[in-house]
């Protein structure tokens, strides 16, 4: 989400306008989506930019579990968001700057409300590096160390955002997801690269992710990437995971 509009990125860049978030949430309600994650990508460039008023409106139309990320700096931000009826928050940059935020939040709201995001890309040597500030700064920890650290501090879930695969629809990086899933005991949500339902099956069954997230897959249709908000039926999803 950016400036109250829904956008889809490629490699965390090249934003394409998708539509009105409220309308899209209503469609996803109708389609019976399992969970929704709303990531605001312009908020972290300025301080105090969380649009609580707009979030309140969105939450009131969202009848499934909802997570919000973007621009969260302090404990009071999390409290305000939870009081709007949003049950989970997603954090990344703030955790690098404020060591205590995660553990204090876990004490105050419980780990089930906290998703720590790992924004990962490859460096010029082809090694995975964790980043903050929408991929613009390098974290001081390796992805696995950071994952373990988040777990120890009280994160309830880990979100792997694969910047190199974001928007490509070429499939998840199974190696990356598996490394982190094996390094931790908390659920790992894989994100970045989903282009088909088969990709989702792979990341769950082969890479051992607990959940699969997707953007492009659920907002684009066909080769030409026409905008069409879509979601597989429960029967299709159940069949996908049948042995």
């Amino acid at each position: 989400m950016k400036n109250r509009g829904l956008v889809k990125t490629i490699h965390f860049n090249n934003e394409t306008y998708i539509g009105d978030p409220m309308n899209t949430i209503r469609i996803f309600n109708e389609k019976g989506v399992d969970e929704l994650m709303l990531l605001n990508i312009d908020s972290n460039r300025f301080e105090n930019q969380i649009d609580f008023g707009f979030l309140r409106e969105l939450a009131s139309e969202c009848f499934m579990p909802l997570a919000y990320g973007g621009g969260i700096q302090r404990l009071s931000d999390i409290e305000t968001i939870i009081n709007l009826g949003i049950e989970k928050v997603v954090m990344n940059s703030a955790l690098e700057e404020n060591e205590d935020l995660l553990s204090l939040a876990a004490k105050a709201f419980g780990s089930q409300a906290l998703i720590a995001a790992l924004d990962i890309k490859k460096d010029w040597l082809g090694r995975f590096v964790a980043t903050t500030h929408s991929g613009r700064q390098k974290s001081m920890f390796s992805p696995q160390k950071l994952a373990k650290r988040f777990e120890r501090l009280g994160a309830g879930e880990l979100l792997i955002n694969d910047i190199d695969r974001d928007g490509t629809m070429q499939g998840y990086n199974l190696k990356l997801v598996n490394q982190i899933a094996m390094a931790t005991d908390i659920p790992v949500i894989a994100c970045g690269g989903a282009g088909t339902l088969e990709h989702i099956k792979q990341v769950i069954e082969d890479a051992k992710a607990s959940a699969a997230g997707a953007g492009s897959l659920f907002v684009y249709h066909g080769q030409q990437k026409g905008i069409l908000v879509n979601y597989p039926s429960r029967t299709t999803l159940k069949r996908l995971f049948e042995p």
Partner: protein
């Protein structure tokens, strides 16, 4: 005239999601914050997210325990407990030391982490409810019963006659319990889109008939 639902507000967790869904369903509701509010209630919802002891202590603090007992056990007002709300209806929980409301003769226990199966605790996500009895919260002919769960403690199958639905998560546990006018569900209907809306609607219909 539509009956009014009273959501017991004992200042634990947030009620935003429940209010949002009841508004969407165009159901008439208010918050029950005082003993007087509870005494006037026609249908009750006992929500809850958080720790067991804190929940019971808050019910004490706002003087809601006696009016709830009076309303539920004597006046037989229909009540639906959600998640922690369901646990509070039992005699206690491994999560805390306080005594529960004791409407159900059982206690909530903790999921055992099973290394081999790698079941993650809390049990978080969508899961199926196997319905044992219809007519109250569920109706014959409904296609699927799938709900959103977030919990570390569960109510065991303590009494076959009082369990309306069960769910499998490494072990089969009671995800829906009932006794006369009292219902408890382990999941969050307010976050289970059309499945949850259907359950609230069914509960209100049943409550009006009762």
């Amino acid at each position: 005239m539509k009956p009014r639902i009273t959501i017991v507000d004992y200042r634990i967790g947030n009620l935003g999601s429940i209010e949002n869904m009841l508004k969407k369903l165009e159901l008439n509701y208010c918050l029950g914050q005082t003993p007087g509010d509870i005494k006037k209630s026609e249908i009750l919802i006992l929500p809850g997210v958080g720790a067991f002891d804190q929940g019971i202590m808050n019910l004490h603090k706002f003087g809601l325990i006696d009016p709830l007992n009076e309303q539920i056990l004597h006046k037989k007002t229909p009540i639906l407990g959600l998640c922690l709300g369901m646990h509070l209806m039992t005699k206690g929980s491994e999560e805390g030391e306080k005594r529960g409301l004791g409407w159900f003769d059982t206690k909530a226990v903790r999921f055992q982490t099973d290394e081999k199966k790698r079941l993650k605790v809390p049990h978080m996500g969508w899961n199926d409810v196997n319905i044992r009895e219809y007519d109250h919260l569920f109706r014959q002919g409904e296609d699927e019963h799938c709900y959103y769960f977030v919990h570390t403690y569960y109510v065991p199958i303590f009494n076959e006659a009082l369990v309306l639905g069960t769910t499998w998560y490494g072990i089969e546990f009671a995800s829906v319990i009932y006794k006369d006018n009292i219902f408890g569900v382990q999941f969050h209907p307010e976050k289970s889109h059309h499945f949850g809306m259907r359950l609230f609607r069914n509960f209100c219909q049943w409550a009006c008939r009762a």
